[in-house]
């Protein structure tokens, strides 16, 4: 009788592995919840500060999004503060899209080279190269941009050299490693038998790459590009040094203009917390968040479509 009870207890007791499983699951869930808390905390913080411009300072949302004058310190003829963020929004969009357009072929090309054509050289030369590019701090990028890119732009296209074109050049190099290494990961995730099957059907290496590998990796490549764009959106110090930081609508690629981040970074230390000037800057940060949300959703839609086909 006693022994059956013991046996029953033994059998019903959780095994060591099961305990470990519960522990592991709990720990990893806690970690995830922690990150969610961080994300919610920061987003909530930015949102509450950013919305204050419209609730407690009574700025019209439409004026904010479509106005072209950014002088939060003074009021216009109607007694409203001049907080038109359109020049910065346009500047951010332009510079992000342009640098992504320039960087994507290079990044995907390099990733393909690393993965498909010469994995040996890829691992030995290109991977360390891209990782090193990430490590160069943005301040240094900014100064190289200021001492090399800006004078070159000035010599070639006139103007002062500061502007979206210089910013694009600097951002192109800055997002290249991120996009490259993520694209390489995406390509690596394509099963090998795809390639083998294609080659066995008599396709050339390029046909295999172009028609099979790249197609299969499209969602991953998309994510890589979005990630690069996200970096371009958020980059501040380097862009700020070469774009000129003038809150003007960009009328050409070489006229001084500004991005959301560059205005945010230059201004935030000079404003008093809780004042309109400060809240308006937080609204820019909020716009930044919303813009990247929109980008993310678009890319997710594209990714889903790619998977369905």
């Amino acid at each position: 009788m006693k022994s059956t009870q013991q046996l029953e207890r033994q059998l019903k007791r959780r095994s060591k592995a099961a305990k470990l499983e519960i522990w592991g699951r709990l720990i990893s869930l806690t970690a995830l919840l922690l990150i969610v808390a961080v994300v919610v905390g920061i987003i909530g913080f930015v949102a509450s500060k950013g919305i204050a411009t419209f609730t407690s300072n009574h700025v019209n949302l439409w004026d904010f999004l479509s106005g072209k004058n950014w002088n939060p310190g003074i009021t216009d003829a109607h007694g409203k503060p001049e907080v038109g963020a359109l020049p910065m929004i346009v500047g951010s969009f332009l510079i992000t899209i342009l640098s992504a357009i320039v960087a994507t072929p290079f990044a995907i090309g390099t990733a393909v080279f690393m993965n498909e054509i010469s994995p040996n050289k890829g691992a030995k030369i290109l991977q360390p190269v891209t990782e090193l590019l990430v490590g160069i701090p943005s301040v240094v990028y900014g100064f190289i941009g200021l001492s090399v890119v800006v004078p070159t732009t000035r010599a070639l296209f006139g103007g002062s050299g500061f502007g979206i074109l210089s910013g694009t050049c600097v951002l192109f190099v800055m997002i290249l490693p991120t996009v490259t290494s993520m694209s390489a990961d995406a390509l690596r995730a394509v099963p090998r038998y795809y390639r083998e099957a294609s080659l066995a059907l008599g396709a050339t290496q390029w046909q295999t790459i172009y028609k099979v590998v790249l197609r299969a990796a499209t969602p991953g490549l998309m994510t890589a590009v979005v990630f690069g764009m996200a970096r371009a959106f958020g980059e501040a110090l380097a862009v700020q040094m070469v774009i000129g930081n003038a809150a003007l609508m960009p009328n050409s690629l070489v006229s001084p203009s500004s991005t959301l981040t560059s205005v945010l970074t230059t201004g935030i230390g000079n404003t008093v917390m809780g004042s309109l000037q400060n809240n308006a800057l937080w609204s820019l940060a909020l716009v930044l968040l919303l813009m990247s949300l929109v980008f993310n959703l678009i890319i997710r839609l594209i990714g889903r479509k790619g998977r369905l086909q």
């Binding site: 004058n69 950014w70 002088n71 939060p72 310190g73 003074i74 200021l146 001492s147 800006v150 004078p151 000035r154 002062s160 050299g161 500061f162 700020q240 040094m241 000129g244 930081n245 003038a246 809150a247 003007l248 001084p256 500004s258 970074t265 230059t266 201004g267 935030i268 230390g269 000079n270 404003t271 008093v272 917390m273 809780g274 004042s275 309109l276 000037q277 400060n278």
Partner: protein
């Protein structure tokens, strides 16, 4: 497995023991007073150097000096989160600050001068011309007697103390037109040095061989001219406290204002001492003659 557990346990015990030992043997003298000063990046080197000297002479004190910008300094001192707020501006000039709660301690005077790229070929401007340049009424240097180069304006960020001072006393309260903005003197100088046709303004201490300073109405930007207000573009550097300072804060501010610092560090860092001035200015820009030194 059990051996591994043993080792892990041992390591843990040793670590805890080390921690306790370290805590017991910590230098008690350094657990003394510490204060924090934040704010203006322009003023930071002075306060930092003075703080280092002070802690070197008074063991057991610690003075933590950080930048962050004038706005950050004033809002944090108003919140009471720090002991000293460094500012380039009178607190009353900054929107959103209740200046009557703060006590002003002037520790230095800084002169600000327009600078231009060397190829501009202009060494003197009248106030009227300066205003025309910064408001965009003239767009080429040849209109004010310089080379045939388009004018490239470079401003400091909105809200910066240097810009506020320059617009108030250099441009006679005219607003500069929207143009490039940079948030630090070093950046402004290197951009003016490399961009043909560029004009901006920096504190005297940032003027070097790479840029050309500009006289205003034939008055040269020199320290002597600042002390008599013949050169009008200058401002005080302030240390703000919330209410009257006490303890280490009071001692440190007194130290910065003492001749030991005013005659050495302040001068070495390119500032003037408020004691050298023969005039005094208040928050609204009103000038009164004082005897001066």
């Amino acid at each position: 497995m059990s051996k591994k557990r043993w080792v892990q346990g041992l390591v843990l015990v040793v670590l805890v023991a080390l921690g306790v030992f370290a805590y017991q043997t910590r230098q008690v003298s350094h657990a003394g007073e510490s204060i924090t000063a934040v704010g203006s990046t322009a003023l930071q080197p002075l306060v930092e150097a003075a703080g280092e000297q002070y802690t070197g002479e008074h063991l057991g004190t610690f003075i933590n000096v950080q930048g962050g910008g004038t706005g950050t300094g004033l809002s944090q001192i108003q919140e009471g989160a720090v002991q000293i707020g460094d500012s380039d501006l009178f607190a009353a000039e900054q929107k959103g600050i209740r200046a009557n709660e703060l006590v002003d301690h002037r520790v230095a005077v800084v002169g600000i001068t327009p600078i231009v790229n060397k190829r501009v070929g202009v060494q003197n401007l009248s106030t009227h011309q300066l205003i025309q340049v910064f408001t965009g009424q003239v767009t080429n240097w040849k209109q004010v007697g310089g080379a045939d180069l388009p004018i490239v304006l470079i401003n400091r960020a909105q809200g910066s103390g240097t810009r506020a001072t320059f617009e108030q006393f250099g441009l006679m309260k005219h607003r500069s037109k929207t143009a490039q903005e940079q948030d630090s003197s070093g950046m402004v100088r290197s951009i003016v040095a490399t961009t043909p046709g560029a004009i901006s303004y920096v504190a005297f201490s940032y003027v070097d061989r790479t840029v050309q300073d500009v006289s205003l109405n034939h008055v040269a930007p020199t320290e002597d001219n600042v002390t008599t207000n013949k050169w009008p573009i200058w401002s005080y550097e302030h240390l703000y406290t919330k209410g009257q300072p006490t303890g280490l804060t009071k001692a440190f501010i007194a130290y910065v204002q003492s001749p030991a610092i005013q005659k050495t560090l302040v001068r070495q860092l390119g500032y003037l001492s408020p004691n050298q001035m023969t005039v005094e200015r208040n928050a609204t820009g009103h000038i009164t003659q004082t005897g001066g030194a």
